[in-house]
Subunit: 569 residues, 2 copies
């Protein structure tokens, strides 16, 4: 490709509205442009990389035995009514009426459509298992799209759905997909980690997220420094060393206007880990919808709301209002576990604890020397706390670390959550009607474009892995003489003939501009033809960001191919 | 691919709701399934062909120097306000509010988005020309989606947009795209015809549609049997031999309850070509919006409304009501050109005509011996009639033929229709701000899947051209012996190793079922391994629909490759 004919509008400066590095660089290097909130154009150079990512994903999915199909973005509302998600999915599901007033939506995911398709064609267990996938544009009406391709509204996803006659077959395919994902992210050159994920209100046995490790990641993941245990903090289980309190009779202490755990601990000169933080919630969704629930964690722990929701069988929880707190006998700022008229859950690190301090459910008053077993009735223990760095691993004696991650993949044993309402039925080996069990497997393809940049950049721009680079070679012509142009064109032709993707910068620009653009765009190999070198019969060749060496012009193509071989392994 | 692992749900019978052959066969052969009105899933075998069509389109667009990008399906409403099409596009533009009540729409085409993009990046004439294209899903909320992929609502299109500093450059690119389209449709093995198309209310100099010739086509195209003149009937210009009428004074004749041209001609025993058919319309859109207009054609001609709209500068025309006819002095059933109080257009074949019969604008009365020049005031002549088979060519002395066509491509010199309101400006060579001039070029990629089937089928199923077939070879195992299975697998492996796409039917089904499916799906070459042949050391090889020959099993792969060579040319 000749640079002067190529639409790659690079920018000198960081765009004002871009916060994360990938967003800045993809804009600056002319890979993407914003159309509207969370919606982007992929410019020619960006699309080249996107297609290479897609090709890796497709290749590994095909190798794993999945079959590609293509489903539509516009979906009929009745399928979502049937699955029960029309309302439940929330405002990220963009709904509209078509010209015949038929309720429709833009597909944020395709469980409904694939179940509808398979339910109409599936007859016998002999057709199972099957794993169908697509690479396709999706739409989720995010309330706050941000970070460019990281959290867009229209985005490109690879989504796969597998159907099985039994759980064992699903478990095998889950492992198969897990391995395929590891291959995909490895081939994309990413530092990533599969982590256990919460299965949430969907249920199911197993779920893993795949995270690209990056400071800009929106997710917090916990992982052991000794074993391979890793999980989303929404799910991570860990232990901690606890302070020992004083064994004595339960007593009251005046704490005028002192409410937060830290302040109470300071006021009483005790370790904040001896405080009991009591939080009151209203359950949302599920059979417990609307119930007021109190939950306690140590004063220096954070309650993980998804764990709480999971523990009570709700879809989620919301903080209770002051009125709701009063209704169960609590006093805002001085809520404690003793005497509350509602269901009470305690984090399991509070089991057997003594010498605690807790709100007394009366203004300006706390209880001291609380003994959980002695002083509280009918409590339920559960894992409610969020894992902190330094916690003891839930699996071994190692220490937990926290990292930021970008979720780029998710595999899920769905079970019959969708296949049952969508009636994906088949005749089993015994001749009986049975419901297929399902897995689903997603990869954020356009998000990967950003995630790769988050791991592959330097101060000059993007440093694409050779197998994903939009072009392998940046050929730069320095000088305007006929000789330098002719030599450049000869090299250009030879590289093309050798099957090398090359971007030839033959623009009438200063060398500084050309080098800046080459570094910004991030092509792995630079070949430079200049008047001075050419006078000695030489070209210069080097890796992006490294030194260039002079080679005889006759050897330039062979040297480039060698270097390319090295760069792509 | 092993058939037993492949999701290709074939049907024995024609689906009840499919009218045209491509819709029937694509459903029966398991290529597509309906999701909702005008919206389809492309099943794995269908997607394989779709991708091959896309690859041909992409290759020719790239060769022609166009650059691929990818724009979103969801588009912001303000761009459509800016171009002036938000209301004008009509109900096929699906509009909706997102969760922030922001007006948005699903892209039925991308002039607005591409102009917005280019306007933000274009600075100098040096960046021009550029031609940007995408292959992407679009949505048009058709009032009556039909014929499967022929007229869907969500469909896949290749759309290209070129930007130029001057008209000469646009004309050159138009020709370049025209040639690329000819290459594309030729490589797809189609019998097609580029035809001149009406530029409609958009204006512009030049427009051609590319039609695949097929009985099921929704369009009627006219073409000369002697020269290469071809045009959509909306635009086709042709001549005809006209009857000579009697020269005499204008007179009145009683025609009680006789109104239609045919009935009046029969009643008066004259050639129906001597009748004047006078039609009254109301103009829609443009500066003439709402104006009542009368238009005359010969009694045996049909008035082509798009020609009339074009002639008066309207977007379209609608038949006037009886009240509107009265308002200009007409009497329904007896309307004639003489004395009407409105603008009057006559088809140009009426210029100089004498001895005509026309309505008298009084009930049960016609005029005879009408002489257009003598008896009518201030008439305007224009080409208003629809070309009929047998007409004289508008370009040579040949004879016009009519054919049905499926529009699969459209190239258009847009001029500044979009670039002006969307402010696609650049600094020209003289340093002045100028508006870029544009072309646009569309291909209905998913419609092509259907159009190809309309030309490539027989009573047994689809007969794919070898370069588009989902698999090149259908390998059919007949019999259940270990030997036949082993021999089949060996051939299967060898074909795969030779880079041949092969679908191996190793199902536990009767031979009749396997052959029926193979013919239906339409793979070009069949290789059959059966117990009987194998006993003699033979396989059978043949083209789909032709005879098979026995060849020694050791030569089967080489023979297949030979046959494939022949089939792909």
């Amino acid at each position: 490709m000749r640079y002067s004919k190529f639409f790659v509008p690079t920018l000198r400066d960081d765009p004002a509205d871009a916060e994360v590095i990938s967003h800045k660089l993809l804009l600056r290097a002319g890979f993407i442009r914003r159309v509207t909130s969370g919606v982007y154009d992929y410019l020619p150079i960006g699309l080249r990389v996107l297609r290479k990512i897609e090709a890796v994903v497709r290749d590994e999915m095909d190798r794993a035995g999945a079959q590609e199909l293509l489903m539509p973005m516009v979906q009929p509302g009745e399928l979502w009514e049937k699955s029960g998600r029309m309302e439940k999915y929330g405002p990220e599901l963009l709904k509209f009426q078509d010209r015949h007033d038929h309720q429709s939506c833009l597909g944020p995911t395709h469980e409904e459509v694939i179940c509808d398709l398979v339910s109409r064609e599936l007859r016998s267990y002999k057709q199972l298992p099957m794993n169908l996938y697509q690479i396709q544009a999706k739409f989720r009406d995010e309330i706050r799209p941000r970070f460019g391709l990281m959290r867009g509204r229209e985005f490109i996803m690879k989504d796969a759905y597998s159907f099985h006659a039994d759980e064992a077959c699903l478990a095998a395919e889950y492992r198969n997909m897990f391995n395929a994902y590891c291959s995909i992210f490895s081939r994309l050159g990413l530092k990533f980690r599969p982590v256990e994920a919460d299965t949430g209100s969907i249920g199911g046995n197993n779920s893993h997220e795949f995270h690209v490790l990056a400071e800009s990641g929106e997710d917090l993941i916990a992982h052991c420094d000794a074993c391979d245990y890793a999980a989303n903090v929404e799910k991570a289980v860990s232990g901690r060393n606890l302070p020992q309190g004083i064994v004595a009779d339960l007593a009251e202490v005046q704490t005028p206007d002192v409410t937060s755990a830290e302040d109470v601990a300071a006021f009483l000169s005790i370790d904040v880990g001896l405080l009991v933080k009591t939080l009151v919630y209203r359950a949302v969704g599920g059979e417990v919808d609307g119930e007021i629930i109190a939950a306690c964690v140590r004063g220096d722990d954070q309650l993980q709301e998804i764990k709480l929701a999971h523990a009570i069988g709700a879809d989620g929880v919301e903080m209770a209002t002051d009125a709701e707190i009063s209704s169960i006998g609590g006093v805002t700022g001085f809520v404690g576990p003793k005497g509350l008229k509602c269901r009470l859950l305690l984090d399991r690190t509070l089991a057997g604890a003594v010498g605690l301090v807790a709100g007394a459910n009366r203004k300006d008053l706390h209880l001291t020397c609380l003994d959980v077993e002695r002083d509280l009735d009918s409590v339920v223990f559960a894992d409610l706390r969020e894992t902190r760095a330094g916690d003891r691993c839930g699996r071994c004696s190692g220490s937990m670390q926290l990292s930021r991650g970008i979720e780029v993949g998710h595999v899920f044993e769905l079970g019959t959550r969708y296949s049952e309402p969508m009636e994906v039925l088949f005749q089993d080996q015994g001749g009986k009607r049975a419901t297929a069990t399902m897995g689903c497997y997603g990869i954020g393809v356009s998000r990967l474009l950003a995630a790769i940049v988050e791991q592959c950049y330097d101060e000059s721009g993007i440093a694409w892995p050779a197998n994903l680079a939009p072009f392998k070679v940046g050929l730069i012509t320095m000088g305007k003489s006929e000789a330098v142009n002719e030599a450049s064109e000869a090299i250009y032709r030879q590289l093309l003939d050798a099957g090398v993707e090359v971007l030839w910068d033959e623009r009438n620009e200063r060398p500084g501009v050309k080098f800046k653009d080459a570094e910004l765009i991030g092509l792995p190999i630079q070949v430079v033809i200049g008047d001075r070198g050419l006078a000695d019969g030489n070209a210069e060749i080097g890796l992006r960001g490294g030194d260039r060496k002079s080679v005889p012009i006759a050897d330039a193509v062979a040297e480039t191919l060698d270097m390319l071989q090295g760069a792509t392994g």
